[in-house]
């Protein structure tokens, strides 16, 4: 066969190179982010962009990262698998990446908002927190008495 002389390492490289070829989808996403940032500044209107909805490769991710850079906040959620929530170097623009318990990426989003909702404690969870804390305190009381 014509390519049988290729070494295995070459082929792994080829596979990675193809998977990381930019599709050209980063620039339009970036201008969408700029527009969304305008809505956030003017009307406090948040926007979510689903990176799973379009072909978006490692190469596109690189372009995005080059333009947006790293910001001040970097949080890791531990909720049925890890999620990484990072403010980019552009304040108001966040990366939200969800993984499952095995570490496989489930979904990737760009959120243009003051703080992503997923970071806030949900009122249902706070209610449960109230119950748990009350329970722990009364347990301690029982133990010391």
């Amino acid at each position: 066969m014509r390519n049988s002389s290729n070494s295995r390492a070459d082929l792994v490289q080829l596979k990675e190179a193809v998977a990381n070829l930019p599709t050209g989808n980063a620039p339009p996403i970036l201008s969408e982010i700029l527009e969304a940032l305008g809505r956030l500044v003017d009307r406090a209107e948040p926007t979510v962009i689903d990176l799973g909805a379009i072909p978006f490769t490692g190469g596109d991710e690189k372009v995005l990262q080059e333009v947006l850079g790293n910001g001040e906040v970097n949080a890791v959620l531990d909720a049925m698998g890890e999620s990484h929530i990072q403010e980019t170097g552009i304040p108001g623009v966040w990366r939200v990446d969800h993984s499952d318990p095995k570490g496989e990426v489930q979904s990737r989003f760009i959120e243009i908002t003051f703080v992503p909702d997923i970071l806030k404690t949900q009122s249902e969870d706070a209610l449960r927190g109230q119950e748990i804390l009350a329970e722990r305190l009364s347990e301690r009381l029982r133990a010391t008495n």
Partner: protein, 365 residues
């Protein structure tokens, strides 16, 4: 048989935080190709939607579909969603049997007339009612009777969706699909042998929150059946370069080359196996070194043999779109060219080609 929402209570009982649930809904929204802003609405709808009454009918089937959906790792959110419906009849899972079981079905039908959801797995034999019956009622009668007051029907698995394995040549029982019998109700086909559990629950979640999803020409939800396995296959760069494994243990197979010549049906099969994967996202057949069998497409058992390349004439491609076949194989460079060349030749000669002949031809040319 209550209709009050159960999900919040169950989440609490399993120690699942609402934040985890919101995260799940965000990924579900992405998977269902819905606008991301819908995620909080999906969460809210799932939490507040009344538990719909569901009647699950199992006809000529192997119980694999029920196994797949009930055996996902516990306590997954898929399972919680499945548990949040009111499953009023499922003769494999329910404790009651015989008369009591049939009574539960009749009660659910009466009480929720026009509102309940029917899920069917398995095909329906038409040749002889006695070929498959439950409590003395033939599958055909039970389907017609139960469908009458249904809001919608979900055909789970390839057997209910298209006839599946029972319908394979020579179709000894005269097996047909649900949609061959019921013509006046919305039917959602979720084919697969079995379907991916996440897909089944996502379709259920979509039905609970926004009703019937967008369907393709085969009645399948577009969100999960718009792209082929081949579109998303990680071996695709090898296909495009014309690098094919020739046997299951050659150097190409070990280097992870494309499985086209070993019979992979990925180019003509629409499913999300390559992205969502199987067994809690562990792997999928092509990743394990075996080609796709094409189990989400009609007549996959009769489409010319699991180990013959797609370019081999399949005999009778009964309902599978020839257009899909051509579009699929024409998409690549190497394999596409090979496929067209050999298919044309084989058709002209009225002979079949297999991996061996392809190999020979190639070394000669």
């Amino acid at each position: 048989m209550s209709s009050s929402p159960l999900l919040p209570k169950m989440m609490k009982a399993h120690g699942v935080s609402r934040r985890s649930f919101l995260k799940y809904c965000a990924s579900l929204t992405s998977l269902m190709a819905l606008p991301p802003a819908m995620a909080p609405r999906i969460a809210h709808a799932l939490e507040t939607a009344p538990r719909p009454s569901v009647i699950w009918l199992s006809f000529q089937e192997c119980t694999g579909c029920t196994e797949a959906i009930t055996r996902s790792s516990a306590p997954s959110l898929e399972e919680l969603i499945f548990d949040s419906i009111s499953l009023d009849y499922h003769h494999t899972l329910q404790a009651a049997s015989g008369y009591a079981a049939e009574q539960a079905r009749e009660e659910a039908m009466k009480e929720h007339h026009g509102k309940y959801l029917v899920i069917v797995d398995g095909s329906i034999p038409l040749d002889e009612p006695g070929f498959s019956a439950i409590a003395g009622i033939s599958n055909l009668d039970m389907l017609k009777e139960t469908a009458e007051g249904a809001a919608a029907i979900v055909s789970v698995g390839t057997c209910a969706a298209y006839g599946g394995l029972p319908q394979a040549n020579p179709n000894p029982t005269g097996a047909v699909a649900v949609s061959d019998i019921i013509k006046d109700k919305p039917i959602i086909n979720v084919p697969g042998c079995p379907p991916i559990p996440m897909v089944m629950t996502a379709v259920l979640a979509h039905y609970l929150t926004f009703g019937i999803p967008d369907l393709d020409e085969l009645g399948r939800p577009k969100a999960f059946f718009a792209e082929s396995i081949h579109d998303r296959c990680y071996r695709r760069p090898f296909y495009d370069k014309g690098l094919f494994a020739e046997s299951f243990d050659d150097a190409g197979a070990r280097a992870g080359w494309c499985l086209y010549k070993l019979g992979c049906k990925g180019p003509t099969t629409k499913s999300v196996c390559a992205t969502v994967k199987w067994n809690d996202s562990t792997s999928f057949p092509i990743e394990a070194g075996h080609g796709c069998l094409g189990c989400t497409e009609p007549d996959f058992w009769d489409n010319g043999g699991f180990y013959k390349p797609l370019s081999a004439p399949a005999g009778e491609y009964r309902r599978m779109g020839q257009a899909a076949l051509v579009a699929g194989v024409a998409a690549g460079i190497g394999g596409g060219y090979l496929a067209k060349k050999n298919k044309a030749k084989a058709q002209a000669d009225h002979e079949t080609v297999d991996a061996f002949t392809l190999e020979k031809e190639e070394s000669e040319s």
